[in-house]
């Protein structure tokens, strides 16, 4: 399928959002709010729930389902306090030895005056650094749009999965077309060049698994996810902490690693 068709599917308004995943994957979900510094970001939902019998921490980006909730959720674009809230919950997950599920669906971290004033870059950077060393298993799932740094800030995981029709990109195809070719009509071409589909990214090893959407009933997607999450956490929970973080480091270390290292010692 042409890449831009995936872009359109990933952004489709009727597509299930973070809240749908929370409702269908977990029981006893309780949302916990606030970053303890500035405020609470409704574009980022954090809380606790059971994955079958396993207590887990859930971090989910939520873009909203209708005009009113989309405005409330800022269309899924977080401010720094969203990322800081997520990190706070992830640290608590580490303290109480709970695995972490991150559900990614954002066109990007919010670009605005308040976001810059409160250190959007700093907030994302802290998440990247801290997630790399968290001593509990992390799985990130891209369910719709994975927009650049704002998505990666929840994406430093042991395994990164992607829904079949989701996209994950360094820049939106629109942004790429307008910056590189000064021509917004080249969006489709940009979408192809950026290699942002699940299939492309599986080949580049940016994602580890594609979750098929080829079911008549989306409930079956949730079921598959639930089983996969449970199995993965069970397997990773027994690893020594050092091995867990070492494997995570190596997972990201491999991108662009140079095989013939020069002798610098």
């Amino acid at each position: 399928m042409e890449a831009y068709k995936r872009v359109a599917l990933a952004r489709k308004k009727t597509r299930p959002t973070g809240l749908d995943y929370i409702e269908n994957l977990f029981t006893n979900f309780i949302e916990l709010h606030g970053d303890r510094c500035f405020g609470d970001d409704p574009a980022m939902i954090t809380g606790l729930g059971f994955l079958l019998d396993m207590p887990v921490t859930i971090i989910a980006q939520e873009r909203g389902k209708n005009t009113k909730s989309r405005v409330k959720r800022n269309f899924g674009s977080s401010h720094p306090e969203g990322y800081r809230k997520a990190l706070r919950q992830m640290k608590l997950a580490e303290k109480f030895n709970r695995p972490i599920v991150c559900i990614i669906d954002t066109s990007g971290a919010f670009c605005g005056i308040g976001a810059e004033e409160r250190g959007q870059g700093h907030a994302i950077a802290q998440n990247l650094m801290e997630m790399m060393a968290l001593k509990v298993p992390i799985v990130s799932i891209i369910i719709g749009e994975g927009g650049s740094g704002g998505a990666l800030a929840l994406g430093v995981a042991d395994e990164v999965w992607m829904l079949e029709n989701a996209i994950y990109s360094v820049i939106s195809p629109e942004g790429c077309a307008s910056i590189l070719w000064k021509d917004s009509s080249k969006t489709k071409e940009a979408a192809n060049c950026l290699k942002l589909t699940a299939q492309d990214l599986l080949e580049l090893e940016v994602v580890d698994k594609i979750i098929s959407e080829n079911h008549r009933d989306f409930k079956l997607v949730y079921k598959e996810l639930k089983i996969n999450l449970y199995k993965t956490f069970k397997k990773r929970k027994v690893l020594p902490k050092e091995e867990l973080t070492q494997l995570r480091y190596e997972r990201f270390r491999k991108f662009g690693a140079i095989e013939e290292k020069e002798l610098i010692d």
Binding site: A109, C111, G112, I113, A115, E116, E117, R118, G119, Q120, G121, H122, I124, A125, Q126, L128, M129, E130, M132, A133, S148, G149, L152, A153, G155, V156, Y168, S169, V170, I171, C176, I179, L180, C193, L194, K195, L196, L201, L204, V206, R248, Y249, F252, R253, F255, G256, A257, I258, K261, E262, I264
Partner: protein
């Protein structure tokens, strides 16, 4: 450095012609005087060089390249470069990228957007990286990410501090998600270096934006910056387009970030070496108060 340029044989015709063109290339002005973009004051190039490329009238910091910056910082003869021959490949077959890399190499006289290595600063051994704005706007692709990560790994192994000068347009979109992954990779390198108790100082220079701001630029123990440098996650043009409003004057300049608490100190370029030496001394000099001596 100069000797290298003078004596290195050109590898191909393109390189020869670029060196010939250098005299006429407007990006590398050869005239005797330069006009300050801020106050229009004319300065002799030789005076500017003596004054760290700072306008003597208004303090404007002219953009300088990575080698010039390195020369201002390390103790004479102490710099050993790492990975100087790493070059990028167009792994995604992104249209026009291969040509862009060639142009960037000719334009910047560097092989990639960052120079890394070890040097001495006031006698202290330091791992250093300096980004190069004239190589595709210092954008971070796989080579930039790899060189910086290797530097942090080297510094961790040898218990050395890292000093980094950033200038970047962000992640290099021609490398797609492989560029974005460098943000995570470099952050991992910084984290391990930090957890092992080592010092990392970043000096943010104009402009530092996007994926570099949202990774290793903002992860340092101590963050310094040059005056009036643009430091942003989303650049001002992106924000203006999103919000459809003009931004306040001075927004996203280093003074603004300082006021908001994201920068430790704004340090003019002529005081960089002095400030860095002092910080290194405070961290690395033999620790006082640990023996049982009397006051």
């Amino acid at each position: 450095m100069m000797n290298k340029v003078l004596f290195k044989k050109p590898k191909n015709e393109l390189e020869t012609s670029s060196r010939f063109n250098r005299k006429t290339n407007p990006a590398i002005p050869q005239e005797l005087c330069r006009s300050c973009p801020s106050c229009k004051n004319m300065s002799f190039r030789s005076d500017l060089e003596k004054n760290y490329h700072i306008c003597s009238k208004c303090g404007y910091h002219f953009r300088i390249n990575a080698r010039q910056r390195l020369n201002m910082i390390y103790d004479i003869g102490s710099f050993i470069e790492h990975n100087q021959n790493l070059t990028s490949v167009n792994r995604l077959d992104f249209p026009g990228y291969t040509e862009k890399l060639e142009q960037a190499t000719l334009f910047s006289h560097e092989k990639e957007g960052v120079i890394t290595g070890v040097c001495k600063i006031s006698g202290f051994d330091v791992c250093i990286f300096v980004m190069e704005s004239s190589f595709m706007m210092g954008s971070m692709g796989q080579v930039v990410g790899e060189k910086i990560t290797q530097l942090f790994e080297y510094a961790t192994k040898h218990h050395l501090p890292v000093l980094g000068f950033t200038v970047s347009g962000g992640a290099r979109m021609q490398e797609g998600m492989l560029a974005l992954m460098q943000m995570a990779k470099t952050s991992g390198g910084v984290k391990r270096h930090s957890d092992a108790g080592n010092l990392y100082i970043a000096v943010l220079t104009d402009p530092t934006t996007g994926g570099v701001t949202a990774s290793f630029a903002m992860e340092a123990d101590i963050i310094l910056s040059e005056p009036e440098a643009l430091i942003a996650f989303a650049g001002p043009r992106v924000i203006e387009q999103t919000l459809r409003q003009r931004l306040p004057k001075g927004f996203q300049k280093s003074e603004f970030l300082f006021e908001k608490g994201f920068i430790d100190r704004i340090v003019p370029r002529n005081l960089h070496k002095e400030t860095l030496s002092n910080l290194l001394t405070l961290h690395l000099a033999p620790k006082g108060g640990e023996t049982h001596g009397s006051l």
